[in-house]
Symmetry: C2
Subunit: 315 residues, 2 copies
């Protein structure tokens, strides 16, 4: 029997501790702990590909590049995304390589700069919702909106920010490379959900200012590659309904139909648990007999061995 | 007969036009022209791996991150290098993919975040020579030197700058991935000479503030991968002795021994043509029967077909 192939989506807590400084050194420290869990999975024979988020990191790259715009040109958002893939991928590959080496496991790890195609007519583009980069005053925000054509919105009383679309991922551009590496190498792919690009009429690709949800991108990776499991790692061991209410209930094995019912009932927070459940449902629905798991980083091994987590299957 | 395998090292002019603005948009425009030549090579059946420089780009990333340090933490130099690999690699893979597609050639292109091991005892570390990042006043420079332990030097009357070491590349960490992709994929690797890392006693890798010469890194890639040709692309069609003097003489086919004689006679400018000739000599010396070529981007095809360029061979 060939090894179980798992696409792992790492949540923000896998890269940054709440309240810790946003330095590269602090990130590397957290990454070093995170990769211990990934190395364990590899040692148990699971074949991995790793997708990670980049929200805080790309936000800070945008912040730095905009703040320094008077001395060196600010970089467009797609380039900031590519930079964040380099930054985070470098830390993961360096740390994971060592975590494996300590376990006498010689599996190469590499990060692949990844573009992900989105539909230029995705309705998300007419309703941008994802705030990125620095805060501005209302006046500054209006000037920027006029000058650059950005959409600016007031963000929870903290000031004005640029908002970009969060379109659906359609296709992993560097898919063939991922496929080639899959059997031998742990690839870090589609970092931050991938660099969003649209396909133009002449067949060329063009970067756009958008943020693809990293769990949906991981779902795309898992489907395209034919993974056995999509595993979404987050802060909780199990998904819950009536979250933190008296009738709070952790979910263990659920079907797509049940998950869809809970979604419709509004149990999961948009921008938080909802996209994870959506991604899991999408994978389970398209792959009868395979499974999606949502659990915490710390429970990844147990969950893959069937001992915890929320498991979503077609039936 | 299997295809000729070529490692191409792209010079600064392949990414940025002299005097043009240092924007991402301007870079992408230049990259789109550059990749036309690479696509031509691919169409003629050459199998490529691409190494690029990152001097101006990483300099600006350092500049931006240091300038914005009061609002978001400055990134260490190794991370800035990783970011530049993401930035430049993204542009190359996006543009080259389309240049190939236009030619109905379906070869995937991908950039690999690449670490390159350097020796922690490399003598370059005691004599850092490579200026990076912003200019400071003497007073600021001394404060920074005290605070951060950086080596600061006066740079040609323009102010004080941080200088870092330029150590020799010893080993491409992500070699196995490169090897795996080699036959099917054009990989962009060791961008900017690679992210310099040292091997610690426990076997872990640690990023260091250093700049590896990209031509020497390309030589390492070519040797490790067993390439047939190391092709270093620069601004001139042929290397010359007595450069721009009345007895200026372009070199066509030369042996390692001749090249070494010319180097000893001081014909090649350090930091410019000298490291290119050094890298070419290193490759030709270690690979009798194979060749290193130094030529311009615009003559890459003709040079690989044996019609121009400076060709360096063992004998």
């Amino acid at each position: 029997m060939s090894a179980t192939k798992v696409v792992v989506a790492l949540g923000g807590n896998a890269l940054q501790e709440a309240g810790s400084p946003a330095t590269a050194e602090a990130q590397l420290e957290v990454v070093r702990k995170t990769v211990e869990y990934l190395a364990e999975l590899s040692c148990r024979g699971f074949e991995l590909a790793v997708v990670h988020g980049n929200g805080p990191q790309v936000g800070r790259i945008v912040l730095a590049t905009e703040a320094a715009a008077n001395i060196t040109p600010a970089m467009p958002f797609d380039v900031c995304g590519a930079m964040s893939q380099g930054y985070i991928g470098y830390h993961i590959q360096q740390a994971l390589r060592f975590a494996l080496k300590k376990r006498n496991r010689n599996v190469p790890v590499v990060s692949i700069v990844t573009q992900v195609v989105v539909d230029k007519d995705d309705p998300a583009f007419s309703h941008p919702t994802k705030p990125i980069g620095p805060f501005y005053t209302e006046e500054e925000a209006k000037r920027i909106a006029d000058e650059k054509g950005y959409t600016m919105k007031e963000d929870s009383g903290r000031g004005w920010r640029r908002v970009v679309a969060s379109p659906q991922p359609k296709k992993i551009v560097e898919f063939s490379c991922l496929k080639e590496l899959w059997d031998t190498t742990i690839a870090v792919v589609a970092g931050g959900g991938g660099i969003p690009v649209i396909e133009k009429e002449d067949g060329s690709l063009e970067g756009v200012a958008a943020v693809i949800d990293k769990d949906l991108a991981a779902e795309r990776v898992a489907e395209e590659i034919g993974a056995d499991v999509l595993m979404i790692l987050t802060e909780v061991e199990k998904v819950a309904i009536n979250f933190r209410k008296p009738d709070h209930k952790d979910l263990e094995n659920i079907t797509v139909a049940e998950a869809e019912k809970y979604m419709a009932e509004g149990h999961f927070a948009p921008g938080s648990m909802l996209p994870k459940v959506q991604a899991a449902v999408m994978f389970a629905k398209a792959n009868p007999g395979k499974k999606a798991i949502i659990t915490s980083l710390f429970k990844a091994v147990e969950a893959l061995e069937g001992r915890t987590g929320t498991v979503i299957t077609a039936e």
